[in-house]
């Protein structure tokens, strides 16, 4: 699926927002970048193309996007609110060693996917977060062990 600029524009308009230059660029970036950037990282990236952009605009825009459900806000660790333009059902893994964040594809182990109601509460969304030690850090550890 190609996420071209026309598609981006359509998404923004469909949610009742005007497709301004800033909004188009920010959403385009969030759809293409898989690193789940913070508002500050988005700001730095946007300044390359829109040098006059302000942090306020970035915050306003991503907040609106998140409210409208155009992107997902990820609460992964203290002082780090990240944004994810990938709306497909997937999970997130944070490495306790290096702090890296990776997507985990749902493999049918989470049966909550289609749950609509629990204990009388209406469920709109489910997020699954994993923490542990990532592939790379495990390899590094094993390599370290050889010389101990």
């Amino acid at each position: 699926m190609i996420t071209n600029i026309e598609h981006i524009k359509k998404t923004i308009e469909e949610h009742g927002l005007k497709p301004t230059h800033q909004r188009l660029k920010i959403l385009e970036y969030l759809k293409e970048d898989i690193s789940h950037p913070t508002a500050d990282q988005i700001y730095s990236e946007m300044r390359k193309e829109i040098p006059t952009i302000s942090k306020t605009t970035v915050y306003n825009t991503v907040n609106m996007f998140a409210e409208k459900g155009i992107v997902n806000a990820l609460f992964l660790s203290k002082n780090e609110l990240r944004y994810d333009g990938d709306l497909s059902f997937h999970h997130h893994f944070v490495c306790e060693e290096c702090g890296s964040l990776n997507d985990i594809q749902d493999d049918e182990n989470c049966k909550y996917r289609d749950v609509k109601m629990i204990d009388g509460n209406q469920i709109n969304d489910v997020s699954v977060y994993f923490t542990g030690i990532c592939k790379k850090c495990l390899a590094k550890k094993r390599k370290g062990d050889e010389y101990e």
Copy 2:
């Protein structure tokens, strides 16, 4: 299960920490209170019994507890880091309307409970967060509809 002060003390010592008055009281509170308080709420509560306690101590203590795995840190929304003294496997539900936070007991729908490895990454912990509209807010809405 009674979480008495001796048990609290043992838990702290077993994790290599000295069972100071402040630490005992903070952990005792986190084990008894089910409201998942923020650091600030813990600070307010502790001042009732330890009027000289500082915020720094609260932050240091809960950070250490979370690092050692004595309590869980919950990242639920921006600007709100909450702490949970209940280490049993359970999930959390945040109401989009009123912001309330409730526990959700695991009902075997999350098969990730015992997963130890995904894509070569070592999994140490899994957290499931639900968002939606809580029982109370649903009732309020229905009541409101009657008069529309």
